[in-house]
Subunit: 695 residues, 2 copies
């Protein structure tokens, strides 16, 4: 029996339910009461600011994507003059679809998030329970949209073209968007944050979120474009890449067995979406009123539901193998474990955050040193987790044949990403309640409301660290399977030319080694360029803020009716972010191309490995150290180690300022950088085979 | 004709000249006038303090080495119950020789350095030219001792046993010592530095090098044990490892060609020593009085002399191949280029240091962020350099056969390390003139003398950054060839068991991949443990300093005749350093053993690769960022960006405090960690082949 129609049907059904549920949640959020004029006004400004950013971003992206699509059409998967016009055209169209679907998901997420923030603020004046629900459900719309569109897109491309290789083009489209959304959004958010702090808190001594500060709206916009749209695009990208690489292998394996492996990929993805929907539907704060617990409980229950559903499917359906189920289960469980260990290093109820807070008593150098040290150590569990899950998945599936073993790793990645709908919901909750806190302050909703908003925000911060660990782990497993996809692409080209196939990439081969060393340097340089970009951009914005305080009479004194020019700040952050992003992104792609044309496909194999390994290490380090510093500062602000205004607090603020671009700009952008490079390599593999100096 | 006797003769001659020259230089330094009583007194205290540290260090090391020697005798290269008692005994004895010879070289270096410091201080009161010569010649004794003993040891082991594999034991001995000397010395020096600053400058407001501070002698001792003994042991280790791995390959290649390849290794090493001797003999400050220029000129001329001498040898001697000469030339030239690019990132006449100084105006977070960013970027040229030299060396020698190609990489490492005598001389010059500056201040030699000492010290700092870049590059190439040596060891065991040989380590093999990920995490955890160790140890010392100020009447006020208890501080730094080092070193060895027994020899191949790649990246990052911060602070202190006491200066001090353990403890210790792990892997390879879970 051919399983594919059934599974496609199931997937469509899941996507349809997800979309319907998203619409329901959106309407539910919209129905929440809004009364406070000031809040509505500011929320509207944030909404418009976010739209300004996204419009400009998408405009530049369209230009970039247009050029990339033309190049793809001309050259990929093989030069058009070799005759494969249809394949190249499909690839180019798939690429465009990848960018558009991810963009639409991001747009929807921002739309809902920026309308949920004000409602969450007002709900907080009623109860924590209600406010939690508004924040969480607002975020869930993004989660459902991302997973729905990614599954729909992958399915569409495969149904129309029937060729899994074309999915690499779709995936590359998603990656291109993610690069802009995550890295661009990351530069935007930290530009605004740093500039607002430097001029407001430091120079003028006015509080955070003070409406006199021209950067304050940009700062709130940043939370949305960085964490909602950026993180969504990042996980859209990882999810698509995981499915694409699994499907490339599944299709090769399926040659003789009626599509059971392909069906399995879709079935698991669809069941993951259903598990997320169930998890989202039942999420709520319990009697203990602990929002962190509620978010974590939803994640664990979604995990359990996924494991049960897939086990049932595997038991019922002929051709679904238990070993592969095991591989995906291992991937998911390791993902959850990585999240928990990340939590250990960044949660202020645990010892590490407290140690860094304590070290801050000796001055900021010790905040930085201890944070860097624990940040380095925090990489270990996640690296071991990824290593073990890859090894176990491989060993589990190896008895079925060596191709199945690699497929096992790909399915571990699919398993890890299966609950991505839930993960994004948790993550997008963060900026919504963060915004809500600012709005509650600006709208004068009173102490108790702010306290509730603070509690919700703190849960968002903790969960965000977990999400980041999870998404880095998922990216790690995904790129391992992309390495496999790259090898198949190279061998397909070699087979076409009648040349000897590669069995792998031997590190004793100096071409591979050459690639490894250069690939390893790329994430370091990439993240440095982003961080320096934040700095440069923040300097521009600082000049503008100072100009406004100098030129707009009454602004500094807070005279009634005098407003700063918020828009100019948003424009500066937007344009600067995109300007600073281009060289960093261009450098990574250029380095890939240069290494490929010097060392050929083997050097690129090494290049990808080096890139993955050092990328994972730096991404984990920067995300975790940043979260650690952030929460150490919060821990001190809660009254420990001398509390607010103490020497320790000043040191902790320095740590937090260092950590901000680490965790919100550079660290998580590395994920995307790795995926982009892997896909560029796969797509250009035939060119590297044909033309290279030493290869 | 058998070349070996001739080449051994040449090598012995070179070693003899080096030793004679070292004795001459030592006597020359001793002959310099010393008059100032106070200076002699303090110099004596530093000398005794250094001896205290080294005595304790060597005592613990003896214990460690004794246990290791017994384990080696029982198990390595293969378990003694398999019958190879003589081989195991040779290995154990070679191991002991490796530790002893390196220890002796370190002891000699410290002896001369701590007697040269006072003489350099007094010479500075006469002229810069004289003081430079005292500092440089004092340092040269260490350089000549290190190269002489390493060459002698390698030659001795090979002449006596005739088996290059035994050299791995000798090399492991050198590595064990380097781990203690470099990491232990690194913890010692920063413990004293941090504790002295925290209590003296910050709490009491007394100047640096103030004799009332109980930690001040420990601080000066630290410069010697960290930079003279530590760096010497590190380069002894790299030099031996490079020769050992080249000789393992050369011996395999020589089976049929009368030892030409083995002869070539020794010939090049001996000519490198001769080139260094010539360079050292002619080093002096020119009319322009620029000590940095003088140090650099010596390096470049030594490089040129080596290239000419080896070219002549290659032209004259039958069996010496031009291709291999090319490989070693490429290695050396790339080493120099890496040094120059490191200089670009850390020299205060270049833009980067100035940019970080400028960023400091906005506060310490920006000092840290910009330093981290440029530190990341600074890895790129060195990584590319190592990658290119490995690739070019391989391609140059590949036409002679694939075994020769790997030998080419090993010879590139030998070439890069050929001028190591000169490099160590430059490096050991640094702490001598640094000490001299402190002594000039304590001895009251006047403004002009201090200015001269400052100029000499600044040259030492700049050159130190170059040396570090160079030594990391050399370690990089060396461990690549150690990877080759490891593969040969594994295959020898497999051949003995009649099992299929490994052709290499394929990164698509999940065992290899598993190893890569875990190996990559090790340097991060290792360096974090060292940094946290410095912090813990400094806290202990801070408590002791506070106790002394509280308990010793008149100390704080500087009453005549009241002296602090310097020795207790030295004891605390010493014991703490060794205590904090053991877990870090143990962790790396344990991780190697665990990965080996889980994943077998293939996982270890990956483990070594991951370890090398992330180790190089982090070592370069930490060394360069540290040097950058240090020089940014000095740049501001020279009167820029507001000068001493400004906000920028405070921020730069934070940067420098972060950078100190980066560049003097963690960064350069990673070199040694990489070599230790590579050698443990090679030595234990037969055990991993015999017993492993998945391998």
């Amino acid at each position: 029996m051919n399983l594919l129609p059934t599974v496609y049907g199931l997937s469509f059904l899941a996507v349809a339910i997800a979309f319907a549920f998203a619409v329901y949640l959106h309407l539910w959020v919209k129905r929440q009461r809004t009364e406070n004029k000031r809040i509505m006004e500011v929320s509207q400004l944030i909404h418009e600011g976010a739209n300004t950013f996204m419009r400009k971003e998408y405009r530049i992206l369209a230009l970039f994507a247009g050029v990339a699509a033309v190049i793809i059409f001309l050259l990929l998967p093989s030069p058009i003059w070799n005759g494969n016009i249809v394949e190249n055209l499909s690839m180019a169209l798939a690429y465009i679809c990848g960018t558009v679907l991810s963009a639409v998901a991001g747009k929807i997420g921002i739309l809902v998030a920026t309308s949920a923030n004000s409602r969450a603020a007002e709900a907080a004046s009623r109860s924590l329970k209600e406010a939690f629900l508004v924040g969480f459900r607002g975020g869930s719309v993004m989660g459902l949209a991302v997973v729905g569109f990614s599954l729909l897109g992958v399915m569409g491309v495969l149904m129309i073209t029937g060729d899994a290789t074309i999915l690499l083009g779709f995936s590359f489209g998603a990656s291109s968007l993610a690069l802009f959304a995550k890295a661009g959004g990351g530069i935007f958010t930290k530009t605004a944050d740093v500039a607002a702090d430097l001029t407001g808190k430091v120079e003028l001594g006015i509080p955070e979120d003070d409406p006199r500060n021209p950067a304050v709206i940009a700062d709130n916009v940043g939370d949305n474009v960085g964490d909602v749209a950026g993180m969504g695009a990042d996980l859209f990208d990882s999810n698509v890449a995981a499915m694409a690489s699994a499907l490339v292998m599944a299709q090769a394996l399926d040659a003789g067995v009626a599509g059971a492996n392909t069906a399995m990929v879709f079935c698991y993805a669809a069941l993951g979406l259903i598990a997320s929907i169930i998890g989202i539907a039942f999420a709520k704060v319990g009697k203990d009123g602990n929002p962190t617990g509620a978010l974590n409980f939803s994640t664990y229950s979604t995990t359990a539901i996924f494991l049960v559903l897939t086990a049932i499917a595997t038991a019922l359906i002929d051709g679904f193998e238990w070993r592969i189920w095991g591989a995906s289960a291992v991937g998911l469980i390791v993902g959850v474990v990585i999240g928990i260990t990340t939590d250990y290093f960044t949660d202020d109820t645990r010892p590490i955050v407290r140690r860094v807070a304590n070290a801050s008593r000796s001055g900021s150098a010790f905040t930085v040193l201890s944070g860097v040290s624990y940040g380095f150590i925090s990489c270990m569990p996640a690296m071991v987790g990824i290593a073990v899950s890859a090894l176990v998945a491989y060993q589990l599936c190896a008895p079925m044949g060596s191709d199945y073993a690699l497929f096992g790793i790909a399915m571990a990645a699919v398993g890890m990403l299966s609950i991505v709908g839930m993960i994004i919901s948790n993550d997008a909750y963060g900026p919504i309640v963060d915004n809500a806190r600012g709005l509650a302050e600006m709208g004068g909703l009173g102490e108790e409301t702010i306290r509730i908003a603070d509690e919700l925000d703190s849960a968002g911060n903790t969960v965000k660290a977990v999400t980041k660990g999870f998404s880095i782990g998922a990216a790690g497993l995904t790129v391992i399977s992309l390495l496999g996809a790259y090898l198949s692409e190279v061998n397909e080209t070699l087979a076409g030319l009648g040349r000897e196939l590669l069995t792998g990439f031997d590190i004793m081969n100096p071409l591979v080694f050459f690639g490894v060393l250069i690939g390893a340097a790329i994430p370091a340089v990439f993240s440095a360029m982003l961080m320096l970009g934040v700095d440069k951009n923040a300097q521009r914005m600082v000049r503008e803020i100072r100009r406004q305080f100098r030129r707009i009479p009454g602004l500094r004194e807070g005279r009634e009716g005098v407003k700063p020019d918020y828009d100019t700040c948003i424009d500066i952050a937007t344009e600067g972010a995109l300007k600073e992003l281009i060289p960093a992104g261009g450098m990574t792609i250029l380095a890939t191309v240069i290494v490929g044309f010097i060392g050929g496909p083997e050097a690129i194999g090494g290049f990808l490995l080096g890139n993955i390994v050092s990328g994972l290490l730096l991404a984990l380090f920067m995300s975790n150290a940043g979260g650690l510093w952030d929460n150490s500062k919060k821990y001190i602000e809660a009254g420990h180690c001398g509390g607010k205004g103490s020497k320790a607090h000043k040191a902790a603020v320095t740590g937090d300022t260092v950590g901000d671009p680490f965790k919100d700009t550079a660290g998580p952008s590395i994920n995307t950088q790795i995926t982009v490079v892997s896909l560029v390599a796969s797509l250009m593999s035939s060119l590297f085979v044909a033309f290279s100096l030493f290869g």
